[in-house]
């Protein structure tokens, strides 16, 4: 019985195309906004939420937040490696086209040729090109896949940014947002180009692996106390915490945008509710006719709720797919202080967006449906 009314509801929707179109369009825009905000939040979460396997510490110059100003002597590396619990300490020189919060910043990370594997997050692989070529070519660059996609660059290309020109030797695939969005080059090459180097030169930070994730904080404290009275005191934190600090502006903006996301959901609810309330007013007579024909109040209520659900699924589907598709194709990344926060294109966002839109559509239909189902037929006929 209920199934037979479904075509009826669909006809109600499709045969008032302007009204339905406006409602669906509004829902789509609101859900687009919501999903984009969620995609940013997802990216922030991925970049900053610590997980149990994290075993990487970043040693930075104390009170500095930009790669241009964080300067540490390269020989600190040897001293860090002597601290108990440290597996490796790789000096990393970072240079960026822009230190402030922005989109599409190019980040170069210079690492010693032999120590690349110690810096990359586990689980990486080479998607294209060869690591051997990266090792042998002084100006070779290993480019993260998201950055390569965003910039449209491939193996064999030359590419310049921030006054540095590199040869793309390989493309890196990784589960870590940071590695997907940077360009690894050889440390001496970067130091040379930036004229900050020479032997025993200066680097931006150290990437430190600890042998047991449980002792991360202890090791971090040990490192900072080692250099406390040095000329260049350090500030050491887990990589996720470091991103949280370096990209704090972005995180704050995204936090604020969360309100926007909630607002978008409220908008979806209001749009569906408005469309349904107006439709109910228009259809007092139609509903009374259906009831006269023997449709029960419950069945008519179901039709109303179902209409809300359809509006939600269509509008939500369009908006969510559009947001997700754009994030997927665009490989956007928000960058600040040399750290990257991706705009996620996790398929779960699709599921979440559509499910929420449907839920809101149903919710918006419930009260009107309940009221419609309780109308007295004879009374309805007299009021229209």
């Amino acid at each position: 019985m209920m199934l037979r009314t479904i075509p009826l509801v669909l006809k109600q929707i499709t045969r008032s195309p302007i009204r339905s179109g406006l409602t669906v369009g509004g829902i789509a825009i609101a859900m687009f906004l919501f999903c984009f905000v969620e995609a940013m939040r997802d990216g922030v979460g991925e970049a900053t939420n610590a997980s149990a396997e994290d075993a990487t510490l970043i040693v930075y110059r104390q009170n500095r937040y930009c790669p241009f100003t964080s300067k540490l002597p390269q020989y600190y590396g040897d001293r860090i490696e002597e601290i108990e619990g440290v597996t490796s300490a790789v000096p990393v020189q970072i240079t960026v086209t822009n230190c402030r919060a922005s989109l599409d910043v190019v980040t170069f990370r210079g690492v010693p040729v032999g120590e690349l594997e110690d810096v990359l997050e586990p689980g990486w692989r080479i998607a294209d090109g060869s690591l051997a070529e990266w090792r042998t070519r002084g100006d070779g660059a290993l480019i993260g896949e998201a950055m390569a996609n965003r910039r449209g660059i491939g193996v064999g290309d030359r590419f310049s940014a921030a006054g540095i020109t590199v040869y793309v030797a390989a493309i890196l695939e990784s589960d870590a947002a940071q590695d997907r969005n940077v360009s690894y080059v050889q440390l001496p090459f970067l130091q040379e180009t930036l004229k900050t180097g020479g032997t025993g030169g200066v680097v931006t930070q150290f990437s430190v692996r600890v042998d047991d994730p449980l002792v991360m904080e202890e090791v971090a404290r040990a490192i900072d106390s080692e250099f406390r009275y040095d000329e260049h005191p350090t500030s050491t934190s887990s990589e996720k915490a470091f991103v949280g600090r370096a990209a704090r502006d972005i995180i704050e903006i995204v936090g604020f945008a969360t309100w926007l996301g909630w607002g978008a959901l409220v908008t979806v609810f209001a749009l569906v509710a408005n469309a349904i309330v107006l439709a109910m007013r228009d259809r007092i007579r139609d509903h009374a006719v259906l009831q006269t024909l023997g449709f029960t109040g419950g069945l008519i209520g179901f039709m109303v709720v179902f209409e809300g659900a359809v509006l939600g699924i269509v509008g939500g589907g369009i908006g969510t797919l559009a947001a997700w598709g754009i994030a997927r194709v665009g490989h956007f990344s928000m960058t600040m202080g040399g750290t990257n926060i991706e705009i996620s294109s996790n398929p779960m966002l699709l599921v979440l967006g559509i499910a929420l839109a449907v839920a809101l559509g149903i919710l918006a239909g419930v009260v009107p449906a309940w009221r419609v189902s309780r109308r007295e037929i004879a009374h309805s006929f007299r009021t229209v």
Binding site: M1, R4, T5, L8, K11, Q12, R15, S16, R285, D286, A288, V289, L290, Q291, T292, L293, G294, F295, T296, G297, G298, E376, I377, A378, F381
Partner: protein, 229 residues
Amino acid sequence: MTLIRCDKLTRVYQGGVEEIRPLDELDLAIDRGQFVALMGPSGSGKTTLLNLLAGIDRPTSGRLVIDDQSIGELSRNELAAWRADHVGYVFQLYNLVPVLNAYENVELPLLLKPMSQRERHERVSAALEVVGIADRHAHYPRQLSGGQEQRVAIARAIVTEPTLLLADEPTGDLDKASATAVMELLKRLNQEQGRTIVMVTHDTTTAEYADLLLHLEKGRLLEKEEAST
């Protein structure tokens, strides 16, 4: 054989301070197969009575039995099911659903029946054929004339083969020619298919099609006269 029996049928509305009593202890019996015209001045309770007979309103007191079913004893949902099985209702203003075409409007009440699409199709086509509007089955209400709309509405009312066909001023909004066509149709349904019809009208020409005239005034039956046939 009595199809409808009203005993002291009363309907009271709470209209502000004073109560309105459109039906006041009405006694009435209508036989199966009769064509009844219900006449009376405006506000005399004709629509109220028809709505009670249709099961879309409930008596305040008294008893209404149709086809051995006491209407007052049915729950909301039981009453809805009863309407689907027993009643066809024709309104003065047709009341077709505007977003559905003629065919879909007629099909509506069949959606509640355990019937295949094919069966529904046969029934709808037959009903449209009976009212002489089969060639307009794909037209929307706004594309039909008043007379055509009313014929579609009649098709919708008879497609379920109801026990009782009720019509509230079915020609009230039609020009003379259309009105005649609609009345001829109702007469045919009564005579050829044996449908029991209760029709409200205040037009004497229309009333002549019926074989029993009832005059209602202030909620009571004035007189009962056999129409000259």
